[in-house]
């Protein structure tokens, strides 16, 4: 290999883009040629200089604008889904089928919630914030969500809070609160809703028990492999009178 060859391969060599054999040939030449060593050193120094220039980080106002755009596009998509569902209902033309479709939507949501629960356990991504202190968990969600989920510790009722994370259920960001009962994990997924307040409904998906209620503009979904009676107890404890 000659100095001209090194000259030609100077950039891919310093960028580590040369095939192993060519790189070895360049290295061999460098061992014997101070001038080429100098060239390589200059290229590396130039790279360090460029990398020393500070990174331009996205300003917070840009983040906020983009979060707004994403929310808007999600709600437009929800509107389309709704319009499609409404058209279907009209074509069937009966109030009964409307009620059924609401029921179906809820059971589809129960499946999505169970999926989120299983995902959190399988992917070993149960926590973004691990703390038994509600005063640590609640502020953690600030700035990560555009709503503030109610966070209560239920240690005194036998369901200690163990942490929280962000999750995604059918297209929106939700707060996931994680509680523990002995070896069982309970995920509570919370997000804002315009649905009216409702009492607790129970369902079962693939062997997991699910409880759902709406309270103060928030939709709550509790899911666990805990037995039915204890999950009911948990749901009651989470809804103080």
């Amino acid at each position: 290999m000659t100095c001209d060859d090194v000259e030609r391969d100077l950039d891919p060599y310093t960028d580590r883009e040369l095939p192993a054999r060519s790189a070895a040939a360049v290295r061999e030449h460098l061992d014997t040629c101070p001038a080429c060593r100098h060239r390589v050193a200059d290229r590396e120094a130039l790279g360090r200089m460029v990398r020393s220039v500070p990174y331009h980080e996205a300003p917070d106002r840009l983040r906020a604008r983009i979060a707004g755009e994403i929310r808007r596009s999600h709600s437009i998509r929800r509107l389309y889904t709704w319009a499609a569902a409404a058209a279907l209902v009209v074509s069937i033309g009966a109030a009964v089928s409307l009620m059924r479709s609401v029921g179906r939507t809820d059971s589809a949501m129960a499946v999505a919630v169970v999926d989120a629960h299983v995902r959190s356990l399988m992917a070993d991504h149960l926590f973004d914030v691990r703390s038994t202190d509600q005063h640590t968990v609640k502020p953690w969600f600030l700035g990560r969500l555009d709503f503030s989920p109610p966070v209560i510790d239920l240690a005194s009722a036998g369901f200690p809070l163990v942490g929280g994370r962000l999750d995604y259920v059918s297209g929106h960001s939700v707060a996931a609160l994680v509680y523990q009962r002995q070896q069982h994990t309970i995920n509570v997924l919370v997000w804002p809703t315009s649905d009216p307040a409702s009492g607790t409904t129970a369902s079962q998906v693939r062997g997991f028990h699910v409880r759902h209620w709406v309270r103060q503009g928030m939709s709550f979904w509790a899911v666990s492999d805990l037995n039915d009676a204890e999950l009911s107890e948990f749901a009651r404890a989470l809804q103080p009178a």
Binding site: E7, L10, D11, P12, D15, E17, H38, R39, D42, R43, A45, L46, G47, M49, V50, R51, S52, V53, P54, Y55, H56, E57, A58, P59, R61, L62, R63, R65, I66, E69, I70, S73, Y168, G171, S173
Partner: protein
Amino acid sequence: MPSRPFEETVLPHLDAAFNYARWLTRNDADAEDVVQDACVRAVRFFSSLRDGDARAWLFAIVRNTWYSRLSRRSRAEVMPLDQTAEEPADRGLDPEARLLQQRDVGRVRDALDRLPIDFREVLVLREIEGMSYKEIAAVVRVPIGTVMSRLARARDRLAAVLELAVPVERLP
């Protein structure tokens, strides 16, 4: 359709997208507008991402957004350069070294800003984003050989501006 939602796939690259846009546009206001428009497009075309490299995909959209804006504008229009802000220098250095470092960083940035856009962007993608030639080729939509030759010429120019040694026969 990617298996994970937009917020998890694309948004982690927001800082990188802004940094790239900032180097393309050379001012904050344009960079913010370009990244916002690019994200709106990205949401719309999210299903086309598959499970590929989200960063390179987002960068390509940022780049297209900027070029379509540029072509709408008069090419002759002079882009205002932001006032160079004080650089946060390494606090571990003594005052003199800190001054030197600030001056050097400012000099390198000015030199980069004065490079032609084709040269500037490959340097930023390679040195600051650490992209491979293949990734850069995907963002800039040129063959890998072109990426290589642009990088070589960009570095020669930059070294010349910064008055570093450059092989004489390669001076542009």
